[in-house]
């Protein structure tokens, strides 16, 4: 049952990656590509322990690093998503009750993810010119993230509740 649940969540993340890499890149919005995958990860992170969220973030980021036509070195988004998911899961007690704070966290996390990604890439000696359109990407990401989160957070959390057996929920609490 646990493996089945794991497979369903993995499948949901793959679907998010496919949607982000095709539809969201082709609609031609200015600046960054709307961070659908990151929002899915954060939606899950708000229902998980920080350690669990970091693991989910790591694999989701890895998926974003390898999905064509990405040329990003493996690990760059993985590390960024792991850190951001860990922090957001840790902030859960402070932002849970409010309707606006999770969205603010989404916006901040999108910006932080870009910065951390840049940091990992630069420190590991990636030769690409990573600062291309950096400012525009930061601003647009900060705007797109909460807009996506409004829909993605409830959807992901509903999905997670749907695939999580009740017994497991009690153990986690």
């Amino acid at each position: 049952m646990k493996n089945f649940r794991f497979a369903l969540i993995a499948l949901a993340l793959v679907v998010a990656a496919v949607m982000e890499s095709t539809w969201l890149t082709l609609i031609g919005l200015p600046g960054a590509v709307p961070p659908l995958m990151l929002m899915a990860v954060l939606g899950l992170a708000l229902r998980r322990s920080p350690a669990n969220a970091a693991v989910v973030g790591f694999f989701a980021g890895l998926l974003m690093d390898v999905i064509p036509p990405s040329t990003t070195p493996m690990g760059v988004s993985a590390g960024a998503f792991a850190i951001v998911a860990f922090v957001v899961a840790g902030l859960k007690p402070y932002i849970e009750g409010s309707p606006a704070l999770p969205l603010a966290a989404a916006s901040g996390a999108a910006v932080a993810a870009i910065v951390i990604r840049l940091f990992i890439a630069v420190t590991t000696g990636v030769s690409q010119n990573l600062t291309d359109n950096l400012f525009g990407n930061l601003i647009t990401s900060a705007v797109y993230a909460p807009l996506l989160a409004v829909a993605v957070f409830p959807a992901v959390q509903w999905f997670d509740r749907f695939v999580t057996p009740r017994v497991t929920t009690t153990i986690v609490r």
Binding site: V15, G28, V33, N52, V55, P68, S70, T71, G79
Partner: protein, 335 residues
């Protein structure tokens, strides 16, 4: 309840630290060599690209589904029937507009391929720019099953798009010419001077540097790809127009900014050149000189001191009009 050691038994900070260290290591290995983790990357591409293909192919039905869906629930039957009809007509117009645009693109692509004697495989762009934010690449829906191999040149009707970076059975990743890591050998049409055209990450600004410091280019000069024997790029493919020239830093040479002919931000239909032509098409593939700025020089003699006032204007005119202007100006001067 007996259970295995779960992440909750370990300090979560250790888990995060472990993952971050792993990320850095992966990036270090994957950023340097292509072989170490290349297998993993191409395996995931093989698994993921069919799904992307599916997502791409259902994207227009999804749009029309939402269009139909919005009509459900309207109470007034007549209004809803008329709205449905209106929407259907509107979709039809949009659809035929889209189809017409695609036909036009294909036409110009085939025209370029025909002129250059290229054999091309046509493909549609499924994804532009990596979702992870850097690297200007595109995913196309043709792969090794269609005869596409790594390093093949990719063109649109207007000109060069890039080269194939990686292939799977039915998709290929294209490194666009605007990517910061892309460099194409370029030749100035007419003068034949050669240089290197590099991407900057900006869609309308590539930079052109010359091997020879004494090379001179001017705004409006057009470039085609320069193919050396066994080089990557097919020679003679139109690249772009020089938009700005300045002195290169640290040398005596020039640095030119180039706007590519192909609109990289709006790619839909592209062609992959699967065979190199036996002869270099030289400048024959360059578009007809239509919107290229023509410089008109008007010379007027100021009465008295005999000094010349020279006015230079750059206007987008056809060359024939420009010639006519020039001749009429010279007759005017003789008077």
């Amino acid at each position: 309840m007996a259970r295995r050691r779960t992440p909750s038994d370990i300090d979560p900070r250790f888990i995060l630290a472990g993952l971050v260290v792993l990320s850095f290591l992966l990036s270090l290995i994957d950023g340097r060599s292509t072989s170490a983790l290349g297998g993993l990357r191409s395996a995931s591409a093989t698994v993921l690209s069919p799904m992307q293909n599916l997502a791409f192919s259902i994207s227009s039905p999804v749009v029309s589904f939402f269009g139909d869906w919005s009509e459900v629930g309207s109470k007034d039957e007549r209004i809803s029937a008329l709205e449905a009809q209106n929407d259907a007509l509107r979709r039809q117009i949009a659809g035929s507009k889209d189809a017409r645009r695609r036909v036009k693109e294909l036409d110009s692509l085939l025209n370029t391929a025909g002129l250059g004697n290229f054999r091309i495989v046509a493909a549609r762009v499924m994804s532009i720019g990596s979702a992870s934010g850097f690297g200007a690449t595109a995913l196309i829906d043709a792969g090794s099953a269609d005869g596409i191999k790594v390093n093949m040149t990719v063109i649109a009707g207007a000109g060069m798009v890039g080269r194939v970076l990686a292939v799977t059975n039915n998709s290929a990743t294209v490194l666009l010419i605007v990517d910061s890591t892309s460099t194409v050998g370029a030749r100035v049409a007419g003068s034949g001077q050669v240089g290197f055209l590099s991407g900057t990450g900006k869609p309308h600004q590539l930079t052109l540097e010359f091997i020879d410091d004494t090379t001179k280019v001017a705004v409006g000069d057009r470039l085609v790809s320069y193919g050396v024997k066994d080089g990557i790029f097919v020679p003679g493919v139109p690249l772009g127009t020089v938009t700005k020239v300045r002195k290169a830093q640290g040398t005596n040479g020039q640095l030119a900014y180039v706007d590519p002919f192909a609109d990289i931000t709006a790619l839909d239909l592209v062609g992959v050149i699967v065979n190199k032509p036996r002869t270099d098409p030289r400048d024959s593939l360059l578009p007809e000189p239509k919107p290229s700025p023509t410089v008109t020089v008007t010379v007027t003699v100021a009465p008295g001191d005999g000094a010349f006032a020279v006015k230079t204007t750059a206007t987008p005119k056809t060359s024939t009009t420009a010639k006519a202007t020039a001749s009429s100006t010279s007759t005017g001067k003789k008077k």
